[in-house]
Amino acid sequence: MSVQDWTYIIVTLTFAVYIGIAIWSRAGSTKEFYVAGGGVSPLANGLATAADWMSAASFLGMAGLISFNGYDGSVYLMGWTGGYVLLALLLAPYLRKFGKFTVPDFIGDRYYSNIARTVAVFCALLVSFTYVAGQMRGVGLVFSRFLEVDINTGVIIGMFIVLFYAVLGGMKGITYTQVAQYCVLIFAFMVPAIFISIQMTGNPIPQLGMGSSVIGENVYLLDKLDGLSTELGFAEYTNGSKSMIDIFFITAALMVGTAGLPHVIVRFFTVPKVKDARKSAGYALLFIAILYTTAPAISVFARTNLIETVSNEKYENLPEWFKKWEDTALLGWIDKNDDGQIQYLNGSAVEGNKNKPVFDGKNRGKHGERVIINANLATKNELFVDPDIMVLANPEIAKLPNWVIALVAAGGLAAALSTAAGLLLVISTSVSHDLIKKQLKPNITDKGELIAARLSAVVAVVIAGWFGIHPPDLVAATVALAFGLAAASFFPAIILGIFYKKMNKEGAIAGMVIGILLMLFYMMKFKFDWFGGGTTEDWWFGISPEGFGTVAMMVNFIVSIIISKFTPAPPEEVQEIVENIRIPNNAGGAQEH
């Protein structure tokens, strides 16, 4: 059977499972819709959190990024896992004890202020919308490559699936579909990794295969890749090219941002007890770590395979996958020295258009390659590869069976859909609970609020779909912005709310507002060229916009503490709330599933 047939079969099967689960676990009350009734077991919540967290970016994008950046890619590995330690130790147990539905709930009650609540709602919406756009795009990408439908049709199919189970099931439906999606995505990620690890090193465990020697050669795989990289003019794979301070700050921003993301935090409201919240953070990281320790192995395998397959090979002799990816415009070749072979070297092969190729319609060159009109003649590199395709192309590059390739497509969809659903829930809850119930219409009935929640989920899906079809030019930049914003706003406000009893509303609001504004300013200046723009040399302390969330977070902490010293202490009953959330027992009702 062809890859396409297999993909249709596997994708249809998995979608049927997701829909079946959604029908079985419909939400009947707002408590079920917002936090699954608070009765999810720690293990199920750990699985769901892992799927919720691991997005199209983790599944499709990360291994590719590491593949092209080597050691520098470590920022994603440490940044996106280390945040769970902060979450487990500093946030999850206390927020569970607090026992409400959302992050703005905590901010609003702890800082006894609707202004604080509104600032938090604004941040939650901003973070979630920037993030969800990338997920819908990921869905479209998988559909267009493997089912050969138009990328927009792919986005619309994805919208309907998410709409169905998020609107029907709320958090309860999402939780159990995410459990299924985790199983699909981890299986899909591990199978090709294990196959390729055996192929290249003879070791079935990719984490160990990465550090083993190459079959039939007396050389370690990593040493071989270091050699190949330097031979072609790239930096040595195991040594990066970013500055140490930037690596440090990006890692910190990603860790703190992870711990501050509302769709991750809210998952810990769904378990029955405080001790379950702690345990389920442990499970979540364990399940995430399986993928995150395999990803760097895949990066090494894929990079080595790619170089060995294409370097100095005649275009005519290249395998089928090369031409298929050329059709999607994510891969391109320009025969600069007119020898009919691919020279893959350091430097950008094309210029302008953000270093992406511009194709001359469907025109073909003399070897049958697609013609690119923006060649960069200053470099000798002839190959453009979009890092996003590495995970999807990897099984094809390694010549694995068709069903494995189809499985990877289904895994990518599971990763994108599970994250999109979690984000949509945060968006709809922010509107129906934090805005309508808590501010605009406090006497709304539970039934009315449930309807409002479902309607806002529908609206959110439509907006997310629109972003998927018309992606903002800088998807990657906006996702980095989401982390920066979460780090600069929520994280300090929540930490201080728990660990510093005297923190008051004036301090927290000033900290959040200044943190966000500073982050937005830096991002716009260096990513969007506003406020006079600037180049790498103008970065403050040599810190990139991706790492600036750490600075904005520190500023938030400092501003909050200074302001709180000069303004009245919080009222007695708020200080009692803080005392109370520090003690783990009697965490409030949960319901059986």
């Binding site: 440490m78 984490q207 370690y220 140490m244 702690r278 770590a289």
Partner: protein, 84 residues
Amino acid sequence: MSLQKHQKYWKENLKYLAILLSIWFLVSYVFGILLVDQLNTIRIGGFKLGFWFAQQGSIYVFVILIFIYVRLMNKLDKKYGYND
């Protein structure tokens, strides 16, 4: 009396946090970033040690840290009668 108990519990909790977060910082920021070049001179099989901490080791330690925290806190809750 009860308030004193609360404060003692909270102090012990903070002590655990300080120890565990120091280890968290050590394996990622110190071993994986600040001392990476020094550690890279040591090799374990095909891995340079600093590179291994940055891409593998730190993640394993993170997982272990959370489960140690869970154990410690469960014991602490029991000691103070806060388990339910």
